[in-house]
């Protein structure tokens, strides 16, 4: 298979697309639609994931440390900081806490209880919500730590939801990927059917299966990629609209899948090209064998 033949095959692929314009249009539309559905689903799943995760991140570990001054608790803070997975620490303003406390329990002030009876409250942020429990128990072991509040049930529940979202989105993406491949291979089978005479003649004059297959696979890749570009266009437009709508619904805040436009384009084109190649490969295989 020399360079000359490869060049010929690429040329043939484009000639094929041009000459079977309507079929090519039908395939591209089908691919664009199915990739659009697949992309919408994948982006929504990603957005859901991120949304749930962002909720989890608001839950951090509250650590209460006994001590009269900030200097007293510094060694404890140092130990907490050294635990892997701890991202950030925030010592709450004790005066504010005290004011709040006094409002709750006026009897304490009248009894002359001093400010420094109250432990320092420190909010600890962790990198992975899945490790909250583990890190909390490590902190609990540090000397000088009075109480650790990790709001365990809530985090567990959110993590469970996250797992379900993940499993469902992976299953959904797989199913859609399969359907998309099926639709594309059907669209390509139609173009093959329209060109059965050409293929028959190729076979009868002694073209190898590879020589017959390659231009058609290239054609599948091109159609898949073009479909992907269309899908990308609609997804980007649609995405912007959805984001605008979401911002109007105040409590949701900003929703985003976290996928950049270039990334989305690359991903879609890759998936489209792969599915186009696989789709034509499978249909040609079947076509050549009967």
């Amino acid at each position: 298979m020399g360079l000359r033949n490869v060049e010929y095959m690429i040329q043939e692929a484009f000639t094929g697309i041009r000459r079977n314009g309507i079929m090519a249009f039908a395939s591209v539309t089908t691919i664009a639609l199915s990739l659009g559905v697949l992309g919408t689903f994948a982006l929504l799943a990603l957005a859901a994931n991120r949304f749930v995760l962002s909720r989890v991140n608001q839950f951090e570990i509250a650590v209460f440390i006994e001590g009269k001054t900030l200097a007293d608790i510094e060694p404890v803070l140092k130990q907490i900081r050294s635990i892997s997975g701890v991202v950030e620490m925030n010592v709450r303003d004790r005066k504010k806490e005290w004011e709040a406390f006094k409002r709750d329990r006026p009897d304490f002030e009248s009894a002359g209880v001093p400010l420094d009876v109250l432990p320092f409250a420190v909010d600890v942020k962790v990198s992975d919500p899945g490790r909250i429990a583990q890190i909390a128990s490590k902190i609990r072991l540090i000397k000088g730590v009075d109480r650790v509040n990790e709001s365990k049930e809530l985090v567990d529940r959110i993590l469970a939801v996250l797992r379900v979202v993940k499993v469902l989105s992976i299953a959904g993406v797989l199913v859609l990927l399969g359907t998309t491949a099926l639709i594309i291979s059907n669209a390509i089978r139609l173009t093959l059917y329209a060109r059965r005479l050409e293929i028959k003649i190729m076979q009868l004059v002694g073209a190898t299966n590879q020589f017959i297959r390659l231009p058609l696979v290239i054609e599948g890749v091109v159609l898949g990629a073009v479909g992907a570009v269309l899908a990308w266009f609609f997804l980007t437009l649609g995405g912007r609209y959805v984001a605008l709508m979401a911002e109007k619904i105040v409590f949701l805040g900003r929703i985003s899948s976290g996928v950049g436009r270039a990334e989305l384009a690359c991903g879609l084109i890759f998936v489209g090209a792969m599915i186009g190649a696989a789709g034509s490969f499978v249909s040609i295989r079947r076509f050549l064998h009967d």
């Binding site: 298979m1 020399g2 003649i201 004059v205 002694g206 073209a207 190898t208 299966n209």
Partner: protein, 237 residues
């Protein structure tokens, strides 16, 4: 060159198209395969280009068992064969020149060789002036010539023609036969399936006659019907 050893073909639907056929076609020979519709002529040709494989027996090409070829070897067998179909099988959206070029290109031939060979072949079949005509712009005879040109373009050692005169008037049929005979004199083995009795009678070539899948006659310089009376009549005609 081509040998059938006790070949039988039974199609999946149970039809027995050929029964215990044993024939030998030598290099450079010209032979007709005749017989009524459904007698197995096309099946016999299809065995040679491996469109069909024998249910029993073997078909040998230069000593090689065609039925036992692996799928990836079949293209190389077919490059030694030129096949002409009754329905021409020309690509309607390509002109004559492009149809021939296509047949050469898809087996990886160099564009330079393609140009030279096509003008050679078009000259041989007498279509040089019509090289840019599309199939629908040509008469049946011209289309058949184009189909023969395509079959020849890759230098086959054997030319297989299935009813090459099926849709043509007697004069045109005769011209096509003359062309096939000319090709044969250049050294190509030619095998023609036909039920055109006039042609067969006139050509006086080897006749292999099929009847319900059986070879009922294999005769040098034969006529369409096996009878001395018709032979005499034809000679007189």
């Amino acid at each position: 060159m081509i040998r059938f050893d006790n070949v039988s073909v039974e199609y999946p639907n149970g039809v027995r198209a050929l029964n215990d056929v044993s024939i030998h076609i030598a290099k450079g020979e010209f032979a007709f395969v005749v017989g009524p519709t459904g007698s197995g002529k096309s099946t016999l040709l299809k065995l040679i280009y491996r469109e069909v494989t024998p249910t029993r027996g073997r078909v040998l090409f230069d000593g090689e068992d065609i039925g036992a070829l692996k799928a990836n070897q079949v293209p190389y067998l077919r490059r030694k064969l030129g096949i002409v179909f009754q329905d021409f099988k020309l690509l309607p959206q390509k002109n004559v020149w492009e149809n021939l070029a296509f047949a050469m290109r898809v087996i990886g031939r160099h564009p330079r060789d393609i140009r030279r060979r096509i003008s050679e072949v078009l000259n041989l079949v007498g279509l040089t002036k019509r090289c840019d005509a599309f199939p629908h712009q040509m008469s049946g005879g011209e289309q058949q010539r184009a189909a023969i040109a395509r079959a020849l373009v890759n230098h086959p050692t054997v030319l297989l023609a299935d009813e090459p005169t099926g849709n043509l008037d007697p004069d045109t049929s005769w011209e096509i036969m003359q062309l096939l005979e000319q090709i044969n004199t250049h050294g190509t083995t030619v095998l023609v399936a036909t039920h055109d009795s006039q042609i067969v009678d006139r050509m006086r070539k080897r006749v292999i006659q099929l009847e319900a899948g059986y070879v009922v006659r294999d005769q040098e310089k034969g006529a369409y019907q096996h009878s001395t009376l018709t032979e005499d009549l034809c000679c007189g005609a």
